[in-house]
Symmetry: C2
Subunit: 471 residues, 2 copies
């Protein structure tokens, strides 16, 4: 962190603490310089950051003032859950994400694990090395499907879990998010119906919205996963053109479909000739010894497009993901060429170098162990500080817990109150276009356990008590 980022964080914590009233004048630049022994530019940059975070307002010629607390927007009104719906989830999602992005906030609502987990300096070494040694012609040769060495390394990882995957069918993308979006584009036209999960990853709902599709939400049980009977009935009732499902350590519930259910899912979709876009970005973060077999392993028809990335497991921010796209590989590759041309070429080579020489398995083992301990610590804190009737899941991988409170608790209200106490949570309604899950939240246990997080769970308990009483 730079000097001015540190300074801004200190000042942000002060504002968050509630010791400075909304609207009160902040110290002048001159005072900050004297008080913290920093340069003028550091002080000015820190204020600029605080302004960006929405914590202070600048008024010309008179200085900086503490900004009012943010208002999150209202959830949409509920729609009938068994109809295909046009989706309008983005406003809600963006308002929640924006609130949670402000530093100084305890990021229990975050979608990312702590960046401190990752071997950033070893990765930087691989990246620098690869950038120096790639052939200048790689800018032509490594166009989609992508860097050959990287695709070979990814194919080797498939081989480790018993899947023989030709490197030629792997298309490298800017993270899994692009892979998922390209797959959806590859198999749908505006107006088509797509099956998504409920609760499910909001990016699926946003993609449905953006591409003018309609969504059928298939229920996900927090303990057994996707409801296959409901899916079978939806397939009979609606002209479903594609499914976008997360089979391992599902976001937000953490649940994993059993092998038998994955097999049944693939067979059901094969009967209807419906492609499955399988989002498997958390699979590598398994706590038991083995990677839970993805649904693609049961596919005999090239109908499963298996999407994953290194963003959650190795290199957040590098933006390298991929799809093993079966019979749709060429179409996905062309869509990639037309929309963003290619993933960054030195970065593809850098990740390939790391996978070959950097010690990925060692890193993963360490990370899995840490995540499991953090899950247990967070579960213990929930038991200690949250109401007795709270229900929550104990996932066997990933870094999300899914909590359900008694009916009096409104998750959006809880989110707003928690934010004003410096804690973010991910409220249930952002995981559905039907405003379901009003009493649920997702918590992130992907950060090293600390007294600060324990205190945050305790504070959440206080906020819950206030919310229940409507104080």
């Amino acid at each position: 962190m730079t000097r001015y980022e540190r300074l801004a964080q200190t000042m942000a914590a002060e504002i968050r603490s509630g010791n400075v009233a909304v609207g009160s004048r902040m110290p002048s630049l001159r005072q900050i310089i004297a008080q913290h022994g920093v340069s003028q530019s550091t002080a000015a940059r820190a204020y600029h950051l605080l302004e960006q975070w929405g914590l202070v307002l600048a008024e010309e010629r008179s200085g900086y003032f503490v900004a009012p607390l943010p208002k999150a927007s209202k959830a949409d009104t509920p729609a009938a859950p068994d109809e295909a719906t046009t989706v309008d989830i983005s406003e809600l999602v963006f308002s929640v994400l924006d609130a949670a992005r402000r530093p100084g906030i305890v990021p229990l609502g975050s979608a990312f694990p702590s960046p401190t987990f990752f071997p950033m300096s070893r990765l930087a070494k691989s990246l620098g090395h690869a950038a120096r040694s790639v052939s200048p012609w790689s800018t032509v040769v490594d166009l989609p499907p992508g860097n050959e060495n990287l695709r070979r390394q990814i194919a080797l990882r498939y081989m480790r879990i018993g899947i023989s995957q030709p490197a030629d069918e792997i298309v490298v993308t800017n993270g899994a998010l692009e892979a998922l979006n390209l797959c959806l584009m590859a198999v749908t036209q505006p107006g088509d119906v797509v099956a998504v999960e409920s609760p499910g990853f909001y990016a699926a709902l946003q993609a449905v919205e953006r591409l003018g599709l309609r969504a059928v939400e298939i229920p996900v049980d927090p303990h057994t996963g996707l409801d296959l009977d409901a899916l079978a009935s939806a397939l009979r009732k609606h002209p479903i053109r594609a499914c976008w499902f997360m089979t391992n350590f599902h976001n937000p519930t953490g649940v994993t479909l059993s092998d038998a259910r994955k097999k049944a899912l693939v067979e059901l979709l094969a009967q209807h000739e419906v492609p499955l876009i399988e989002d498997d970005v958390y699979g590598e973060l398994h706590f038991s010894p083995n990677y839970p077999t993805p649904a693609m392993a049961f596919d005999r028809n090239g109908l499963v497009m298996h999407c994953s990335s290194f963003s959650k497991t190795l290199a957040p921010g590098y933006r390298i993901g991929w799809v093993s796209a079966g019979r749709f590989a060429e179409r996905v590759q062309r869509l990639k060429l037309m929309t963003t041309l290619s993933a960054s070429i030195p970065v593809q080579a850098g990740i390939a170098d790391y996978l070959e020489h950097g010690g990925y398995e060692r890193h993963l083992k360490k990370m899995r162990l840490a995540l499991r301990e953090q899950r247990d610590a967070m579960s213990a804190a929930i038991r200690r500080w949250l109401p007795d009737d709270t229900q929550w899941t104990m996932p066997e991988g990933g870094y999300f817990l899914w909590l359900r409170f008694e009916e009096a608790i409104d998750a959006m209200e809880l989110h707003r109150r928690a934010i004003s106490r410096g804690i973010s949570v991910a409220p249930g309604p952002i995981f559905s276009a039907t405003s379901a899950f009003a009493h649920c939240i997702r918590l992130n246990f992907g950060h090293p356990w600390s007294p600060r997080i324990d205190t945050a769970i305790r504070t959440l308990g206080e906020v819950l008590a206030e919310t229940a009483k409507g104080v």
Copy 2:
């Protein structure tokens, strides 16, 4: 280049030369090892590359054989040019691009300048340095709109050309192609009409096709640029929702709109409240002393979205572009978050570091000078080797020449014949959805002048003579 790439190139040249007949058996791995003194894996990889390039076919247990020459697909039948058309250009474009991507080909049809122009090792230094020193939290802080330092450096470049551009309105993207696509998505719905150039950059036509839009093609004069009268009339006739135009060193003609015309363009569009997506990726490659002012400089209504990148000027393959998106900045930023999340974060920081410390101006000066000399050399070769009635442009920047032949010449036929002689050209029909420009080609002068290129132009002259005679 690696050992096996060099070996593959040598063998590719041999196949291209015509000395080895189609269908004949290639040397065995053992022979290659003995002949070239390489390892078994080098020989095997070289064959793998040749296979990928479509130059050899592998037959199990019996070795490698010279592949038949590729067939390019036919151009579509012409449509009435003054109607809004649904576009189907991709097949044609991909077949031409695939043919031109094979190494060993003289890349006169390429869309890229020679990668040898770029300061790759200085860039790698900046990239390695930045990757080592970015804060782990940058993976959250540098989400769109993007790395603050990079956006500040881009704002400084706007300032150099007299445009005051707040860094906050700049959204960093995966190259200009993503910026252009996001802008188009931000202001259109499926079925909308969009004005594009004719001839124009095929990616605009592909985007129109992919998003279910309809295109009106506005003629571009190779000497004066976009026909503003035709645009005015199209604006009256069609409900145009957006324009996608290239104002400086236009692809494929090389023409630049004068300041007066740019001003008139912006005013005309303001009257109709139609947004302009300005593609300005070649502006920095100007041969006269000054950057030709982009149209955005004349915009008073926030209607111009100015898109550019470092892919043509500094760092091909790094995939860093941007848009200064005026009043549409927030919408573009959200579309970016929903589709690819973010441009690679260490790469953003690396480019920012280079811009600050790497000597960008020095590099640009050198590159502009080289390109001008290459333009002159190619023009001289055309005068010497091509038919007397050939017409061509002399652009003041970029690296494209636009040629027009007599009516007997079919550019698609010329393209096919040239490919079979080891030379790629970009045939006119890929720059329009209406199969116009049947007698035009685009040539790339972005490669260091060499006897090989001079010979290629001479060969092109021979091919033209054969084509004209229908031999």
